[in-house]
Every structure is written in C-alpha cells, then in structure tokens.
C-alpha cells in the first residue's frame, strides 16, 4: 500500500537546510458554499529549516489553528503551497504524511483504557502494513521516545492515571515515535503551570537541536515564544503581520495592535526581547 503513495513524495528537498516552505498559502471559511467567506487566512509565506523552532503567535481567532491545519496537510490551501522536504503536504498519502509530520493536539478523551507504552507504540503505525504487530525495533523506538521526554518511568501506567503535564509528555513521545521531520504542536502549554511550560519548551528546544526536527508551536504566550523560538510568525485577523526572529517581530506597535494591550519591549543582552505590560505609574 505504501508503494502506491503519490509520486510527489520522492522529489528532492528544495534546499539543503529548508524543511518547511509555505508559499503564498491562503484559506477561507464560509458558512455555506455560496456565501461570502467569514474568515480568510493569508496569503502567508515563510520557511523553516532543520532544527528550527518556529512559533506561530497570535490571539484567539487570529487563524493560528487554521494555519496549523494547512501545515499538517489536513486542509488543502485554497491557493499557494505548503511543502515539507519539497513535497506538497496535502497531496501526500496518509501514511507517508504521518511519517513526515506529527501533530500534537490538546488531549483527547480516551474511550477504552490504554497503557502509556501502548499509546506511544501507536506512533509506529505509519511504518507498517495495514494489519501489523509491533516489532522489536518499534519497542526500542518507543522506549527511546519515552526516555527523550523524560517519561521512562511512566510506561506501565494507564493513560488516565497521569497528570496533565505527564500526559502531555506521553503524547509528545508518541509524536517522537513517528520520527517526523516536522513536529507540530497546537497550544501545548495550555494546561500547564509556568514550571511545566518552561520545561516543555526547553525540551522542544532540545529536540529541535539534537534530533534535527523542525518544531512548530502554536501559542499565544509572548514570553515563551520570545525566549525559545528561532523564528516567529505573528498573525492577526488571518493576516500575517510579521515573520522573523523574535527581536525583529516584537515591535511594540505591532504587538499592541494584535493583543490589544499596552506593551513594552526591551531587547535583552542575549538578543531576545522581553515583553512587559506598560503601566501608568
């Protein structure tokens, strides 16, 4: 079944270091087929290389999730292209796509109980035949993935026994077991306290650096993006306002327009911006 994957999978990467390439991609929602679109996204262009950590930043309803769906290949852009390693993602065979792109979403509700290691093992699904039994190699990769997220001790627990932060790590481990080129995370810090948030971002930073994953994080947390991202895409009402390093993107006027609060930005000695609320005292 894998061999019949659409031919685009085989084409060579556009450039040695570019992994994700978004070219003038746009999308629009409308209530019915004929009515005018209620929400339009884009057109947006940006690129990300191997071991880049890219943050998609914006308030609620700015189009972050829609952009993530385009990156994941779930929805096809109305115009433009989204490419991973030179292949258009929305036209990839489902399993081939799952070998290239892993998507970590907010936790879903489990219907039947499942063990942590069984859950992580699911990440190996795209690499097998339709009816498959896990191999020795799959076990090793799942064990490694759990170790990489610091969750080795959890492997025999039931999923529902875990705390929010632990569950997040296990979901991340399943994504690692997919051995993806591109790792997408949808608001991964939402249910975590500040300690958990920093720990997760450090871990993602490390994964990007060591495993040469390209990591894309959708978030509305300015501080975290400023501290950990290589590049930031700032979205507002479906438009891409700025793309660049945090220092380039974090312009007080632009941030105030997007987040609707008075903000101060200072560039710290390490070249990364720090954002704080501007108060009148």
């Amino acid at each position: 079944m894998n061999s019949t994957a659409s031919g685009v999978a085989a084409s060579a990467p556009a450039a040695e270091t570019t992994r994700l390439k978004v070219e003038q991609a746009s999308y629009a929602y409308s209530a019915t087929d004929r009515s005018a679109p209620e929400f339009t996204l884009g057109p947006i262009s940006f690129e990300a290389g191997r071991h880049d950590l890219l943050a998609i930043l914006g308030p609620n309803a700015s189009g972050k999730s829609t952009l993530l769906r385009l990156l994941a290949g779930i929805t096809k852009p109305l115009s433009g292209r989204v490419e991973v390693d030179g292949a258009e993602v929305s036209s990839l065979d489902l399993k081939i796509r799952a070998q290239k792109i892993a998507l970590v979403q907010q936790e879903s509700q489990l219907l039947f109980p499942i063990r942590v290691w069984e859950y992580v093992m699911q990440g190996r699904y795209p690499y097998g035949r339709r009816l498959r039994f896990e191999s020795e190699e799959d076990s090793v990769l799942a064990t490694n993935a759990l170790a990489q997220v610091g969750a080795s001790t959890l492997r025999d627990y039931w999923m529902e026994e875990l705390s929010g932060g632990q569950k997040q790590r296990v979901i991340l481990a399943r994504a690692m077991a997919q051995q993806p080129a591109l790792l997408l995370l949808d608001e991964p810090t939402q249910h975590l306290d500040i300690g958990g948030k920093v720990e997760l971002l450090r871990r993602l930073r490390k994964l990007a650096d060591e495993n040469r994953h390209t990591v894309v994080v959708v978030t509305h947390e300015l501080d975290l993006a400023a501290e950990f991202a290589d590049r930031v895409v700032l979205l507002h009402k479906g438009k891409c306002l700025r793309v660049g390093t945090p220092a380039e993107v974090y312009d007080p006027a632009a941030l105030e327009e997007v987040f609707n609060v008075p903000l101060e930005v200072e560039i710290r000695p390490n070249g990364r911006p720090r954002v704080s609320l501007r108060t009148n005292d």
Binding site: Q105, Q122, Y125, R130, D156
Partner: protein, 338 residues
Amino acid sequence: MKPLTPRRVLAVCSLLLLVLFVAVVISLRMGAYPISIPDIVATLFNRIAGRTDQIPSEFLLVVFGLRLPRIALGIIVGAALSTAGAGFQALLRNPLADPYVLGVSSGAALGAIMSLVFAPHVAGAIQIAAFIGAGATIAVVFLLGRRGGQLDTATLLLAGIITTSFLSAVIMFLMTTLSGRDLRGISFWVMGDLATAPVIDLKWLFFVLIIAAGSIYTTTSDLNLILTGEQEARHLGVNVRRVKLVVYVASSVLTGLAVSVSGSIGYVGLLVPHVMRMLFGNDYRLLIPTSAIGGAILIVVADMLARTLLGATEVPVGAMTALAGAPVFIYLMRRRVR
C-alpha cells in the same frame, strides 16, 4: 511492556477453541437419546478420520443428523453476533453497542420477513434482505443518536430502543395480517431460537462469516487507533473513512446472517466482547478473534441450557442470553454514567 504478538493471538484462540470443543461435546451428550461422552468423542474422531463405517448408525443419526447441525448453526450465529457487536462498539465508539440493543437485529428481522413475503423461494434472498435491513437500521440509529453533531451515548441507546420497539410493532403487524403464510413464529423473530434448521446450507453461512469477520480483522490495527480518537488516528495515517465503511458493511452482514437463520438473539454482542476485554484487554487484534470464538461458546452453552433446563419443553435461546445479558448491560451502563 509486552507488545501483542501473532503467537499470543494463536495461543489464546487455541485455548478458547479447546473450551468450545468441550462445550460442543457436552452439548452433544444432552438430549433424549443417551450417548456417553467417550462415545461422542470416538464418533467425532472416527468421522474426522473418515472411518464412518465404524460408527454405529444410531450414533451417526443422532450426532450428525440431529444434534451437530444445530450446534454448528449456534457456533456460526454466536460468532457472527459477537463479532458484529465488537464491530459496532468500535464504529459507534460505545462499549454498550450490540446488534440487538441498537435495533439492528429487528431491522434485519424485518428485512428477512419482507423477503419471505415477496420472494419466498429465491435462494439467499432472506440473507441479503436481512443484511439490507441491518445496514439501513444502523444508519438510521446512527443519525438519530447524534446530538449537536456528536454521538451521545444516552441518545444513541434511546434511538436503539425506540427503533427496536417500532420495528417490532411493524413485525407484529405483518405477522398478524399475513398469518397463514410460512413466516415462522413471532417469538422466533423477536427473541430468536435455533430450533428450526435453516433452508440455506451451513457451508455458505460459514463462508460468509469468515469473509465478513476476516475483513473486520484486517482493520483491527486501525480500529485500535480510532478508539483513542478519530482525528488523532487520521493524523497517524489511518484512512478512517475506509475503515469505518468496512466495519459498517461487515457488521451489518454478520447481523443479517445471524438474524436470517436464528431471529433476534440478544446481548451476545454485548456480553462476549465485554468478557473478552476483561480477560485479554482492549486490543482489537485479540478482541475480534476471541469474541468470535467466545460468542460461539456462549450460544452453544445457552442453547444447551435452553434445550434441557425445562425437560422436554424448550426455551428460546434468546431468552437465555437476555437473562444473562440484561443485568450485564445495566451494570456497564451504571458504571459509565457514574
């Protein structure tokens, strides 16, 4: 951390097949004509070895002419209903799903009766009509069971109950207006029993059972992922729509097959997968084959009790399964609502 291996599936299934064999031998012994268990085993092995001439002719008649066909029918029906139950549970993401509870059996029964009315002498028509009835009913129940675009457990079960009661009323109406035709009894369609031998050759039923259950089996890796979340499964490369279509068609075929020859035997598809989940876990690669064999065991035992419990008078086998199944259903429902 021990991943499931094909070897473990084979080992567990062999064990269950052994239990089934014991149940069959005991069931063969039960009845008016007394045969000892060693005689039964000897008869079976002689037959398998092709030494038919060494079997006493009355044993040949009682074992192979009377008792075994009914037991074989029970095995096919039990395996079909139980596999269909596990299939519907995955399809509707609901551990309470069962062909009988959802009204699918009633739909199949109505289809079967219609075919008896309109095409009484066409071979296989009753099976095909029962399959269409099953498939149409599950589609209706699925649509009725949605609330705000989501499948809701309580709404789904209510939809099933209402559908069952409506279809039973239609069946009653048909049976009353068409009395005099050869449509079997009302209790056959509503409760189910194995007393009447079907017109169709058991080989065909067995063939369809293997094809339908086998095609569900090819999707079991995908079902495991779908059960942790459809969207996530899609992101992991599962073709969710194709898998659901296969399971939908195959489960409807299995229900239609069972109902066309045994009426609406209830709760098998609920009871057996539940016990197998408790014994062997939720992995569908193990659950589907163990449920199939377990369903066969349940029906063989239930039918043996139905034949012998009250002496000469028979109880419909569906009454036996309902006696066991309804309390388990209540237990499962209360545990979920809690």
